[in-house]
Symmetry: C2
Subunit: 488 residues, 2 copies
C-alpha cells in the first residue's frame, strides 16, 4: 500500500472537492488503480452502479461497513463529494485486467455451482440470484462481481462472516452474513476463483451440470427430504425433459414467456428452483396432487394446479395440460420428488403457517419494515429489478406483479412466505410481527385485476376474497381491485 | 334323502329317456325340488346356462367332478339325455325359495367384499368377475350363484379345496381350487351367506365400502407394496373423485364408454382394479410417469400414457388430459400409490418379463392350450362374454378387441400377461411355453387396424411393428393388418 498517497489525500481540504474533479478522483485511483479499474485487494469500482458506490461510501463514512482505512478516507467527504465520486466512477469502463488464478477442475465446478445455483442446504443462494446474470450487477445497488479480484472478494466474505447479523446497521450483512457463513474455506476459494475468471459483460449459458453416473438413490426420511442433486438428472430424453422443466421453472420469462402476463418466474415464489423446504417446494406438491382445493371447489390435478399459477401468480394464459411446457414442468417435479412417498404431507410442504399476529398487521409499520429490508432489491415502489433482460427481483405490486387472484395476495400467505424466505437467503430474520406488517404493506397496493372479476368489486370480493385480502378495501383513498386502481 | 326315488330312477332303462320327458326330469326334481328350484344341499338347477348344465352332467358322468351320487345317476344317461335335460332345466324359472340365514353385519360386509371385489391378497377374485353382475351367471357356461343355498355352495367350495389343482380333468378347479383355498372358514360362511340372500335377477349397485376412519397409513417396503384398502378412501370431494376413478377403471364401458371403441375395461388388463402386482398395477405406473417411451419417442405424462390405453387397447378416442374422466383416473391412481416412493421401479410393476421360449411359440400348440384353458370364458372365437349389459370376459381378437397398436398385440407382452395372470385368478398355472404358445395363438388373429396405419401394411409394420408382432404377417392365408382382415 502506498502510504504516502493517503497522507497526501488527507491533507486536501474536503471543501475543495465539490465536483468529480480529477484531484478528488485521483485520491481513489491511488489505490483502486487508474480509472478505478481495481488492483489486488483494492476492488474495481469503475462501472459499478452509482447508487451502490454512493451508499457504500456513506456506510464506510458512518462506520456501518467497518474499514478503518475507508472510514478515514470517507470522513473527509461530504454528501456532495460522495455523490460526485459515485457518479464519476459508475460511468468509467476501463479495460479489465484479469486477476484470475489457476482453478482445478473440481474448483471450477464447485465455483460455478455456488455462483449459479448456490448450495441452499448450507444457506447459500446462487450469487447470480442477486448479482445478476454473469454477475454483472443489478442497478441501482447490487455490485458487479465478474472479474473482481479474488483477494478483495475473499476479504469481503471474511468481513461478512465476522459481522453481527442480528443488529446490522449495514443491510447487506443480513443476507451476505448468512451466505458467507455457509461457505467453507474451500468454497470461498472456489467461488472467488470462479468469479475472478468471469468475463465482465458476458453472460455464461446455463448448462447442465456434468452427469454423475455414480449417483445412487438413497431412501430418506420424508420429513428431512432433499431432492436429488442436479448431477443425478438421468441421461437420454428423460433427462432432457427434466432439464427443460428446470430451465422453465427457473427462468420462466425466457423459456415460457408466452404463458405469462407479468415478469415473474416460477422461482420467484418457489426458491432454489422449487427445491427448498418451506418455500412451497415442488416435490411436496408433486406427491400431493390430485387434491381437492377450496379455491375452485374441486379436485385439481397437478397440471391444473400449475395452470392456476400461470393464471394468477403469473397473470397469464396457462399452457394446456398436455403442452410441452407442462410436460417439462411435471417431469421436473416428478424427478425432484424421487423417493418421496406419494400422498403424504412431508415437513417443509407449502409455506409454514404463521401464528396469528399479536397486534393486527399494520400497513404503516410495514412501510418501515419494507424500506429497511426489501426496498434495496424490490424497489421503493415494489417495481422489482431487471438486469440484462432478466428479471432479478420480482415486482411485488403494480402492473407487472401477481394479480388479485394469486394466493400471495392474501396477507396470511404473504406473511408466511416472507417469514420463511425473505430477505432472500435470509429467511427467519424478521419477527413474526414484522412479517405480518410488511405483508400487509405489500398486499395493500394496486395490482392486476382478478381474472375471475365478476364486473363488480363488491361481488368479486364476496365470492373470492372473504379472507384477509385487501381486495375491495379502501387503502389510501383507493378502492383496491377497482378497474381504475388495478395497477395496469 | 329319498332313497326310494333313486332306486326307482335307476330301474328305468336309459334308452327310454330320449327327450326331456317329464319322467326323466322328475328323476332330477326328486332331489332338486319341483322344477329344479333347489332345496338344501341340492342346488337349484333351474335357469342355469344350458351348456353349464350339460357340461357338469358330463363331468359327473366321467367322474371328473367327483360325486358318487351324481356319478351313479348320470351313468345311466347318454349324450342325448344329458342334452335334453340341460335344455329343459335351463328354460325353467320357478320362484326362488330364499335359503338365506341370518348374517352378522361383519359377515355381510365381508361376504359382499368377497363377492364383488374379492381378496386378491389371498388369491380370491370377486365372484362377480366370472359369475356376472349380481352373480346371475354368464352364458354359456358359468352358473348363477344368486340365491343358491349355502349348504350346496359350502360343500362345493370344500370339494374344490380338496381337489388336485395341478392335474385337473375338471377345468373349473384350475380357478376355483385356487379361490376356495384362499377362503378361510369364516370367509366361506360369509360369502355363501351373502350369495344366498342375493335376489336372483337383480344387480346390486356397486357402492363404496364403509369408510374406516381408524385406518392409519403404514410405511411399507416398496417391493412388497399393497395399496390402501378401499375402506381408507378419504371423505369429501377427494374421496368422491377417487371413487369415481375406481368405478371408471373397473367398468369403463359403463362410466366412460364414449372414449372406448371396443368392449374392454381398464380392469381387463389390470386385474383387481389396478391393484394387483404383476398385472401392470396403477400404483407402479403412477410413480413412474412422466417417463420416456420408445413407443412414441418422447417423455409421456401419466395422462398421455392413459390416453395411449384408450387409443390402442380400448380402440377409442381418448379423453383430454384435463377431462373429468382423466382427473378421476389420475386421482384414483394417486391414491393407490399412497406411501410408495416416487420414481423407483418396485417389484410387481408391469407384467414380469417371461424368459425366451425354449422352442419358438407355436400357434398350433397354442390352439390346444386355448381350447383347454381359455375358451370357456373368452369363447372359442375369442369373442368374449357379456352378461346383462356388462362385458365379463373381454374379446381377445376380432372387431371388439384391442387394436394392432396396443402393447398386448406383441407376443412377448401377451405371454407375460398370460403367464402371470391367466386363467383369471389362477396365474402361474400355465408353463412358460404354454404361455408363449397361447399368446401366439391369440395375437395371430385379425383385430382392428393400428390407428397409426400409414396406408400400407408393409410400411406400418416397418415403422411400428419391428417386434414379435404378427402384424403384416400371413397367418392362415390372411395378411394380418390388411384392411380387409382387420376383424372389423
Amino acid at each position: 500500500m502506498k502510504r504516502a498517497a493517503w497522507i497526501l489525500l488527507l491533507a486536501i481540504p474536503a471543501a475543495a472537492w465539490c465536483s468529480p474533479a480529477p484531484s478528488l478522483a485521483s485520491a481513489c485511483t491511488g489505490c483502486h488503480g487508474p480509472e478505478g479499474a481495481g488492483s489486488g485487494i483494492f476492488p474495481r469500482i469503475a462501472g459499478q452502479p452509482e447508487v451502490y458506490l454512493q451508499k457504500e461510501l456513506e456506510f464506510f463514512r458512518s462506520g456501518a461497513r467497518p474499514s478503518p482505512m475507508m472510514q478515514r478516507v470517507t470522513k473527509a467527504l461530504n454528501d456532495a463529494d460522495i455523490a460526485a465520486l459515485a457518479a464519476y466512477f459508475s460511468k468509467l469502463h476501463p479495460p479489465y485486467t484479469s486477476a484470475a488464478g489457476a482453478l482445478s477442475a473440481a474448483q471450477k465446478i464447485r465455483g460455478q455451482q455456488l455462483a449459479t445455483v448456490g448450495d441452499w442446504q448450507h444457506g447459500v443462494p446462487g450469487c447470480v440470484r442477486c448479482h445478476g446474470p454473469g454477475l454483472n450487477g443489478v442497478a441501482p445497488q447490487i455490485p458487479a462481481l465478474a472479474g473482481q479480484s479474488p483477494q478483495y472478494v475473499v476479504s469481503t466474505l471474511r468481513l461478512f462472516q465476522s459481522m453481527n447479523m442480528h443488529a446490522p446497521h449495514y443491510f447487506p450483512v443480513t443476507i451476505m452474513g448468512r451466505v458467507a457463513r455457509g461457505l467453507s474455506d474451500a468454497d470461498v476459494q472456489a467461488v472467488t476463483g470462479y468469479i475472478a475468471q468471469l468475463k465482465p459483460g458476458e453472460i455464461p449459458q446455463t448448462s447442465r451440470p456434468p452427469h454423475d453416473a455414480a449417483y445412487k438413490f438413497i431412501a430418506q426420511s420424508p420429513d428431512e427430504f432433499k431432492p436429488p442433486p442436479e448431477t443425478a438428472i438421468p441421461g437420454g430424453l428423460d433427462g432432457e425433459e427434466i432439464w427443460r422443466g428446470r430451465l422453465i421453472f427457473e427462468d420462466t420469462q425466457r423459456y415460457a414467456r408466452q404463458y405469462t402476463g407479468n415478469t415473474l418466474n416460477c422461482s420467484s415464489c418457489h426458491l432454489d428452483r422449487g427445491r427448498r423446504a418451506n418455500s412451497a417446494p415442488m416435490w411436496a406438491a408433486y406427491i400431493a396432487y390430485p387434491e381437492y382445493r377450496s379455491k375452485n371447489h374441486k379436485v385439481n390435478t397437478l397440471e391444473e394446479r400449475i395452470q392456476g399459477c400461470f393464471r394468477f401468480s403469473m397473470n397469464g394464459t396457462p399452457p394446456a395440460a398436455d403442452s410441452p411446457t407442462m410436460v417439462a414442468l411435471v417431469s421436473y417435479f416428478h424427478w425432484l420428488a424421487t423417493g418421496l412417498p406419494v400422498g403424504i404431507t412431508p415437513k417443509g410442504a407449502g409455506y409454514p403457517k404463521l401464528p396469528s399476529p399479536h397486534t393486527s398487521p399494520s400497513i404503516e409499520r410495514g412501510t418501515a419494515v419494507y424500506a429497511a429490508n426489501c426496498a434495496m432489491c424490490h424497489g421503493a415502489n415494489g417495481e422489482g429489478r431487471e438486469a440484462r433482460g432478466t428479471q432479478i427481483f420480482p415486482p411485488l405490486w403494480g402492473p407487472h406483479s401477481f394479480n388479485w387472484g394469486a394466493g400471495m395476495e392474501q396477507t396470511s400467505t404473504a406473511a408466511a412466505f416472507i417469514k420463511a424466505n425473505m430477505p432472500y437467503g435470509a429467511g427467519e430474520t424478521l419477527s413474526d410481527q414484522q412479517a405480518w406488517d410488511v405483508a400487509a404493506f405489500v398486499v395493500s397496493h394496486p395490482r392486476p385485476q382478478d381474472p375471475r372479476f365478476t364486473g363488480s368489486v363488491a361481488t368479486t370480493r364476496a365470492k373470492y376474497h372473504r379472507t384477509d385480502s385487501y381486495y375491495g378495501r379502501v387503502v389510501n383513498g383507493k378502492l383496491l381491485g377497482a378497474p381504475a386502481n388495478s395497477g395496469e
